[in-house]
């Protein structure tokens, strides 16, 4: 069974670890903004109760340095490229998409519409998607927050203004306090929470959107094992991206592919397309409820 494996944006640098990037079907860059950003002050990461919190703050060299210096080196890595873009206004997204539209080697533009660690744009997600669509003919994926109140409705709206796909989901905002001092463990306080505990939340988002729209979906959130990939496919994802697991295991893409093959075969699936979508009222378990 083959399911395309990507990295989640911000969870891999293909230039410092090309051997990991080449294990993937496509490499997704760290989010690029029109102007360079130093990012947030450290400490930027903490682990709490099975979650990872991060507050990197979109550190990146800016659109021009990315286009002229980083992108050529990324092309040399030899994997299809998804460029994640972000900003603080519709104009920022438009600027990024216009510039990337001119460039060879950018296969997909993923709009980061959901970073929990920087200020949000004043415009709505739909307006940001519309502005981006007007600036490029390249494939446009929208990366959404799991904290979206009605994510299926949002998916319908952005499909209507020209999204080509969805990346579901980004991190969920959380706060970790030092047990002794009761002060935040990250310099700016809250951060984006990720890890295996995000998986059921992400699955619910994928399932809701797959039921609402026909767009292809990249499932993201706590994938650690091959069987996690099967769950995302069952919920409606056509590809998946690895995030936090890459930090603890850079060889995870190879391991997960092997596990996916074994898990799929054990369940009698020859391809991802044979996995049926769960429908309401079809609850089932193969084991005792008291697992």
């Amino acid at each position: 069974m083959s399911v395309p494996l990507l990295n989640a944006s911000g969870c891999l640098d293909a230039l410092t670890a090309p051997e990991v990037a080449t294990m993937l079907d496509a490499f997704v860059t760290k989010t690029v903004t029109p102007l360079p950003r130093e990012g947030n002050p450290p400490p930027r990461i903490a682990e709490v109760d099975g979650w990872m919190l991060n507050s990197i703050g979109l550190q990146n060299p800016g659109l021009e340095v990315f286009a002229t210096s980083v992108l050529p080196r990324l092309r040399d890595v030899g994997v299809p490229l998804w460029v994640s873009v972000g900003g603080f206004s519709a104009s920022d997204y438009r600027t990024c998409c216009e510039r990337l539209d001119e460039l060879d080697g950018v296969d997909v533009i993923e709009l980061n519409l959901s970073c929990p660690n920087v200020e949000e744009a004043a415009e709505t997600v739909v307006e940001l998607m519309r502005a981006s669509r007007g600036a490029t003919s390249k494939q446009l994926y929208a990366k959404l927050s799991p904290a979206t109140p009605d994510i299926a409705e949002l998916a319908r709206s952005i499909a209507h203004v020209g999204a080509d796909g969805l990346s579901l989901v980004n991190t969920l905002r959380g706060l970790a306090l030092d047990r002794e001092t009761l002060r935040p463990r990250l310099a700016l306080g809250p951060g984006g929470a990720s890890g295996p505990a995000l998986r059921p939340i992400a699955l619910a988002c994928v399932h809701a959107c797959a039921t609402a729209v026909e767009l292809p979906i990249v499932g993201i959130g706590g994938i650690t094992l091959g069987r996690d990939v099967l769950e995302f496919v069952a919920a409606g994802a056509s590809a998946v991206a690895l995030g936090t697991v890459l930090f603890r295991d850079p060889f995870a893409p190879v391991r997960i592919r092997v596990e996916l093959e074994e898990e799929g075969r054990a369940r009698g699936y020859g391809s991802a397309g044979e996995i049926g979508r769960p429908v309401p009222g079809s609850a089932s378990t193969s084991r005792s409820y008291a697992d």
Binding site: G10, C11, L12, D13, T16, A17, V20, K30, E38, G39, P42, P43, R44, I45, A46, E47, G50, W51, M52, N54, I56, Q59, G195, P196, T244, L246, F247, R248, D249, P250
Partner: protein, 212 residues
């Protein structure tokens, strides 16, 4: 990698692992150690590299380091490394300076450099028990500080310790090689979590350091 054993040294624990196919790397480089039950591995610089073994000195102060300290012989953990940039060993008059758990890389560094002079500082006599990992070192206990013992012409200083200590060492010996610490998720440049400020810009300690 299989655990050979753990040994308490004062409040610290020396975790000894079978090295398998991993080499020890350059002193000052680090390894990412899987901490059982934790989501993220923990970065540790190599303390000792006897034949067939990699040994790490750690201070069990949180869930990750406590899980590592609780490992039993023959248990196995994943280890990634050696990572980052270690000390530049092309030095004429090396002087090793370590503070607290920052003495961790000093025994292996001392071995590779042929036993140069060393000054170690600790916050209590109990912590100072770890000085036995570096026989012959000069040892001070708070309220005395290692930086008070730095000679006027300290030579080539190679230091590791708490940030305030490293800041003072840098003032007294501007050319000193300093091994820094930061929370790290990956250790190989992926997460941008471990940045430190260099010349006004944030750089990843795991890629640019940890020796800066």
């Amino acid at each position: 990698m299989s655990v050979r054993g753990t040994e308490w040294i004062g409040p610290y624990v020396l975790l000894r692992l079978e090295c398998g196919e991993l080499g020890p790397g350059v002193p000052g480089q680090f390894f990412m150690l899987e901490a059982p039950g934790q989501l993220l591995p923990r970065p540790m610089s190599l303390c000792l590299a006897p034949p067939g073994e990699l040994a790490f000195l750690l201070e069990p102060i949180g869930p990750g380091t406590r899980a590592l300290a609780a490992l039993r012989p023959r248990e196995a953990i994943h280890v990634l490394g050696p990572l980052g940039n270690g000390f530049d060993l092309d030095v004429r008059r090396p002087l090793l300076v370590g503070g607290g758990i920052g003495i961790a890389p000093m025994p292996y560094l001392s071995e590779v450099l042929g036993g140069p002079p060393a000054i170690l500082g600790f916050r209590s006599e109990r912590h100072a028990e770890a000085a036995r990992l570096l026989p012959g070192a000069e040892v001070v206990v708070e309220p005395r500080l290692v930086t008070e013992l730095l000679p006027g012409d300290p030579g080539d200083v190679l230091a590791c310790g708490p940030e305030p200590m490293l800041e003072v060492v840098r003032q007294l010996a501007p050319a000193a090689q300093l091994a820094w610490e930061a929370p790290m998720a990956c250790g190989y440049g992926a997460c941008y979590g471990c940045v430190v400020q260099v010349d006004g810009h944030y750089v990843r300690l795991c890629v640019e350091g940890p020796v800066l």
